[in-house]
Point group: C2
Chain length 369, copies 2
Amino acid sequence: MISRRKFIQKAGLTASTLPLMPAAETLFNNQNQNQAVLRVAIMGLGSYANRVARAMESCTRAKVVGVISGTPSKVKEWQARYSIPEENCYNYETISEIASNKNIDAVYIITPNALHCEQTLQVAKAGKHVICEKPMAINAVEGARMIAACEAAGVQLLIGYRMHFEPKTLEAIALRASGELGKILFFQGLSGFRIGNPNQWRLNKKLSGGGAMMDIGIYSINGARYMIGEEPTWVTAQETKTDPIKFKEGIDETIQFQLGFPSGAIASCLSTYSMNDLDRFYLNGTKGQVEMQPSTGYGPISGRSHLGPLKAPVVTHQTIQMDAMAGILLNNEKAPVAVDGYEGLKDMKIIDAIFKAVSTGQKISLTNW
Amino acid sequence: MISRRKFIQKAGLTASTLPLMPAAETLFNNQNQNQAVLRVAIMGLGSYANRVARAMESCTRAKVVGVISGTPSKVKEWQARYSIPEENCYNYETISEIASNKNIDAVYIITPNALHCEQTLQVAKAGKHVICEKPMAINAVEGARMIAACEAAGVQLLIGYRMHFEPKTLEAIALRASGELGKILFFQGLSGFRIGNPNQWRLNKKLSGGGAMMDIGIYSINGARYMIGEEPTWVTAQETKTDPIKFKEGIDETIQFQLGFPSGAIASCLSTYSMNDLDRFYLNGTKGQVEMQPSTGYGPISGRSHLGPLKAPVVTHQTIQMDAMAGILLNNEKAPVAVDGYEGLKDMKIIDAIFKAVSTGQKISLTNW
């Protein structure tokens, strides 16, 4: 079992320098070491799971082979569409039985945020790699528990940071890393959309753990980190709620937040569930700029720098992500930008601090743990 | 003499509803009531004064007829270029003598910020209308003194808000006012440039009264107000200083600030002296958006809404401004967006609050005075 201090130390590493953990030498991995294709079971069969599975039809190294769902009718549909055998279908009471299934390598958890932690612990205990959709959990303590549990079980934990594999995003990061933009001074992230159905789980604190920040604001948090290439040291934040009926206690509608970085770079970000089509990144350095719009949406990313348009190809994000994750999990390949549990934990710590900044009105230091 | 309470009440009016003051029935105005051209003396002959004077060569209703300067060589240059007679040339010791000059209607004060208040008082005492470059002063108390002094002297006080006459800006405001954008939710203003010469007056607290906020950040403050069409009720702000040698105590390099408005709309703004080419406005409503870039620079303004590009003509800002100000001062015409002392005071109150928010780390209410 990894010590608390040890993973805190690891979590202090920067996204760019954090090494991937070596693959655990488990029975499971030995069995699959010549396996070219990552066999994935999807947990939670909602709309994003559908999007992932459709994208995975174009994967060359990953395949949907199983499902975990509490809704038998959905399981039937998925079995038919993806030719999933009966023995690879589970519900939330039978998760532990996945341990004996030699035809499943990893479980991709695509359930409401508040369920991620316990479900990750269950999957880890069953000896399968975990891919967990972001946010990895509803707070940093849960994230830390997930990391510890996966390390103890000898399985890997990856977080569904699809932008970390998206070509135009990587092109922008490479421009910054090359020094082409000069010293980085300012990042702006606007992340939001106007949320519809007031009865969905995203607006239910018990399932979501929070509102827009958990769901969409995290793109600006994560984006600030990978675009600037540093870890923030402080945060301030201001909440605005215009519709307290739709956005109940604990469900943030709109939060502005600001981050400070060791170099003196700053970030100004917006997270919202009440504005249309807000999906913009802007990075300003002494020698140049990059702007992206859309910057994190599911469709084609578009951007330009002072040198002209970003030229990297348009891809289906989840196809690229899952092929790359197969390489990470099966062949110990390195992600272009970290997607492990420590990466997820960094965002959770910032989200915790944003909520604390909102409730106290204070500038919150991010260097304390 | 206007009471403190009276001008505070007036200052509480919104930009869109504030009526222009009726022209004072002074000897001066009676003498010029048939005068089609506003005869302007420029006080302070620096680079912006040069820009204004060149632009005024194309004015049909305003003309540079005099100068006030402490530098005799500049006075000679201006006399030659603008055919200014000797009797319309003053220095800072002879300002009071303008009182007896029947050929000057107004003085345009284009001097360092910290001098605006006393100079306005001097010009008002001499019975001439005051046009004062923004920021009107270095704090709200000074601004209030200026308003009171001009009202007591029966002269008008206008602030050099050139964007309030700029056609694309007015087109954007009209779009918002028409309801075309729906309910306004968010304004973003990025205002900054990389300041050069470290020895200029803008970086000398005694002359500037502050750093980037006074000089360029005020565009985002003022822009937030005219683009949203409301007066803010609170402000939060965070300062970053990366170069304490260049930006000394009291000279702000970079400040992020956030404003909240009665409708629930919010603004996120950046003021900086250390970033290149930051001149962007973005306004988001439930039904549409407007973005402008450049949004406040001296050159052509460019912008688009969800309906397409803004179509209003490109103009020389200062030409339009001075012709319009001639109409205000001579014919009691109404400015499209207020440019009087109360308008300037509103921005000064917000700047005061931003500095207080920075120093205290607290959210500052703007409804107290």
